[in-house]
């Protein structure tokens, strides 16, 4: 018996402004009460797919061919108001989705618009807030909430309208891994309650930990996969679809073991296979000997921060923090939300005034002279340290791509012919050269991020500080940025990334420091970090899935 709640039948869609179809002949059915994950690289049509489900995109915006059925009824001609009764949508940007002045008002929004009686809507808000653990937050405004709390408020605000289908556009995008797991657990709880879940998300590794029933993969507007997670992970074309492979499967694959031999491949806690243990242990041994060969000289300091204390009102955010940023190193700065890691980054970059302590560097001209940043203007300081915000809108000012990069050099009085050459060279390295005449605003999100890095890196600071460089990007785009950062590192720039991206920390960073309650831990290697459960807990990280697998395999006897 098929109990279909949503069905696409021969559905194609083309925006009026575009020549090519964004979605091509889609056919799929989603079962009532199921949890579906939609995957696909940026530009594959995922957002349009969602917009067709919730009718934010209709015949007004483009040409729709084929049919969308909800509860077996053809939805042709209905608008987003009608559709919102059936489909609740949570947008990627929960900050902008928050339209009330307080949590209570935001949750009540849909009922207010239905002109529901005040007593009834207040009762409904109290009820749903209780269910999602938001009761204490009801009188607070959005600025007092964490990312995970905003995500839960957004869910409450949609669920209170009783839509039987819940659509989530990248719910994890701005969350740290621990909060991400908590949000996924809430989603799973709703799934258990019988709500149909459709979720677009890049972070496959983390989503799999709570399980999914059904996976759809889009590529270039076509549905290339429709089935279960197990079959997706074993699919030989997995890598062609540019999806982020879960870390534990990359580990298995790199050890030379075929994924086809695995059982329970979708669950890191139970995945097994004949001789898997032996194969993994052999690969680990080989890796260790390779690492031991590389020994390093004592690094020189590119920049130092000494005894920084910073408070906001009567709240101490940083408590006597000292940090040396080593030349040519990639340092990951981690910590849970509100631990002060962004504050520290901004202090070092000169974006916040130093209250106590100092930030300094050795002078370029004379190695025996130290330059105290408090005495420099921001423009002068830019020679030592550059800062890249996570919001490209704060970085770019609507010039052409070439000009966005050239402006910094021009303002520092570099000769015009040198500028031309330097900028074009850099644009090529960052894969932005073909777009050099475009307006910066018309680039994709990932391209904007690369351009913001470039616009700062072009001034060749000794240290480049990046706030969440990979947040909100798909695997391909994030790797593109990281590879470009690696080039910068090789050219002699030290990198500091404020992040909770597990893959970045594990695979790219050389060193990690964590901020816990305003204090800085010692520098360590990523491997050392991931072996300390309590530190992971304190910094809102989770154990990477490859480590989980290795530990599990170690512990299990060789009884199979």
């Amino acid at each position: 018996m098929t109990d279909s709640v949503l069905q696409f039948k021969d559905l194609s869609f083309r925006y009026h402004s575009q020549a090519e179809e964004t979605l091509k002949n889609l056919n799929f059915t989603i079962q009532k009460g199921s949890k579906t994950l939609v995957l696909g690289p940026s530009g594959s049509g995922k957002s349009t797919l969602i917009a067709l489900i919730n009718a934010l995109v209709t015949e007004k915006e483009g040409e729709i061919d084929g049919q969308v059925f909800i509860n077996n009824e053809d939805q042709a001609g209905t608008d987003s108001f009608d559709r919102s009764l059936l489909v609740g949508t949570i947008l990627q940007d929960t900050d902008r989705q928050f339209v009330g002045l307080t949590v209570a008002e935001d949750i009540a929004f849909v009922l207010e618009n239905e002109a529901e009686a005040v007593e009834k809507l207040r009762a409904a808000v109290a009820n749903i807030a209780d269910k999602l653990g938001l009761t204490n937050l009801l009188p607070l405004g959005p600025e007092a909430l964490s990312g995970g709390q905003k995500q839960r408020v957004a869910m409450a605000g949609v669920l209170v309208g009783n839509s039987p289908i819940l659509v989530l556009d990248e719910p994890l995008a701005s969350l740290d891994p621990q909060t991400g797991q908590a949000v996924l657990a809430t989603i799973e709880q709703l799934h258990q309650d019988g709500i149909t879940i459709i979720m677009v998300e890049h972070r496959l590794d983390e989503v799999l930990r709570q399980g999914v029933d059904h996976v759809l993969v889009l590529k270039n507007g076509e549905l290339v996969f429709d089935g279960q997670a197990e079959d997706l992970l074993k699919n030989p074309r997995f890598h062609d679809w540019q999806l982020a492979q879960p870390a534990y499967l990359s580990l298995v694959e790199q050890s030379g073991y075929s994924l086809q031999n695995l059982e329970h491949i979708e669950d890191v806690q139970t995945v097994t296979g004949p001789n898997l243990k032996q194969q993994l242990q052999q690969a680990q041994k080989a890796k260790k000997t390779a690492v031991d060969k590389g020994t390093q000289d004592r690094p020189t300091a590119a920049l130092e921060a000494e005894n920084l204390t910073y408070s906001y009102g009567d709240r101490t955010i940083l408590d006597d923090v000292s940090l040396t940023i080593d030349a040519n190193q990639w340092l990951a700065l981690i910590g849970e939300n509100g631990s002060g890691k962004s504050t520290l980054a901004r202090l070092i970059a000169g974006f916040l005034p130093v209250q106590q302590g100092r930030v300094f560097s050795k002078s370029d001209e004379d190695k025996n002279v130290t330059v105290d940043f408090a005495k420099l203007s921001l423009a002068e300081q830019a020679r030592y340290v550059g800062y890249v915000s996570q919001n490209p809108n704060e970085m770019l000012i609507g010039l052409s791509v070439f000009e966005e990069v050239a402006t910094g050099l021009r303002l520092h009085h570099v000769a015009e012919d040198v500028i031309e050459e330097t900028v074009n060279f850099a644009l090529k390295k960052a894969n932005l050269y073909p777009y050099r005449h475009w307006q910066s605003q018309s680039l994709s999100f990932g391209q904007k991020r690369r351009l913001s890095v470039l616009s700062v890196a072009i001034l060749e600071p000794k240290v480049l500080i990046l706030d969440e460089p990979t947040a909100g990007q798909d695997d391909v785009s994030a790797k593109g940025l990281l590879e470009y950062l690696r080039l910068l590192q090789d050219s002699g720039i030290a990198l500091v990334t404020v992040t909770h991206d597990m893959a970045l920390i594990e695979k790219w960073a050389d060193q990690v420091v964590s901020l816990v309650a305003g204090r800085l831990t010692a520098k360590m290697t990523p491997a050392e970090l991931f072996s300390q459960r309590s530190l992971l807990e304190q910094t809102s990280l989770i154990v990477p899935s490859d480590q989980i697998l290795l530990t599990r395999i170690e512990r299990e006897g060789s009884h199979d």
Partner: protein, 274 residues
């Protein structure tokens, strides 16, 4: 709760009043105060407004700057009235009692009396506006505006603006710093012309990103059925209680008093010089 326009979350008689009744009383008294040039009435109104501000438990610190600014503005206004129309009081009261000097700029008690009336208008309107704005939660105000007949879309737009101002301010601050670091002349050392040029760029890019924000926000609102019905209810709407009726009655009585005074004074001005 956002601090802008300084809604102050306290518990006072004035805070507990319904936003609609507060809005109505505020409007009634403003009309009465604009209408009347009777010093007895304006003194009464000033004392009343001062009392309301006292009841609303607003700290002096939080309104200090605003009050200083108004005082400066009011004094400037008084001086300018004297500069442009030094004999206006004489015209009004058909009498001339010279206190100082002679000729066109002679200081008369009639002119002084008139300027005192103008000063009193500031003295009642500033405390009254403060007591109204600082004790009314923006959402309740939106609900109140809607209740008195303003379209809920406009009322909501108002409260939404208050919701987003802090976000936009923060974004602007970072953008400014980023551009300074790139070498844009925005800091203290830059010349005025350069500052203007660079600031214009920044404001433009801020406008772009704000517009983009507005689009997402309006989508988010449509997805939650904003604008579907002709009516909407408000989570923060409040019941009418006895104090609301009392306040409204007081407002109406004061307005009636002002109208009655106009009729017995034979005009908006009460003339003590007769």
């Amino acid at each position: 709760m956002t601090d802008f326009l300084g809604y102050q979350d306290r518990d006072s008689v004035i805070h507990r009043l319904n936003a609609t009744s507060k809005l109505l009383v505020f409007l009634l008294l403003t009309v009465a105060g604009i209408l009347s040039f009777d010093i007895r009435f304006l003194l009464l109104l000033t004392v009343f407004a001062g009392f309301v501000l006292y009841l609303s438990k607003i700290s002096w610190r939080s309104i200090r700057i605003l009050v200083y600014l108004t005082v400066v503005f009011a004094l400037l206004n008084l001086v300018l009235i004297y500069v442009f129309a030094p004999q206006y009081g004489v015209e009004l009261y058909h009498d001339k009692t010279i206190l100082l000097g002679s000729g066109y700029y002679a200081l008369t008690s009639q002119q002084l009396f008139y300027e005192l009336l103008v000063l009193l208008k500031y003295c009642f309107s500033v405390p009254l506006s403060l007591a109204f704005l600082l004790t009314t939660q923006p959402s309740q105000l939106a609900a109140g505006l809607n209740r008195v007949g303003i379209s809920y879309k406009i009322a909501y737009a108002f409260s939404l603006t208050l919701r987003y101002l802090p976000t936009i301010q923060n974004e602007f601050q970072t953008t400014k710093k980023v551009q300074e670091a790139r070498g844009f002349a925005l800091g203290k050392k830059a010349s005025l012309g350069k500052k203007m040029m660079a600031s214009t760029r920044l404001l433009l890019s801020l406008a772009f990103s704000t517009l983009e924000k507005v689009e997402t926000i309006s989508e988010a609102m449509a997805l939650r059925r904003f604008g579907k019905k002709r009516k909407r209810t408000w989570y923060y709407s409040q019941k009418w209680r006895l104090p609301d009726w009392l306040a409204l009655t007081m407002g109406i009585l004061l307005l009636l008093l002002a109208v009655w005074l106009v009729s017995i004074d034979g005009g908006r001005f009460w003339n003590p010089f007769r």
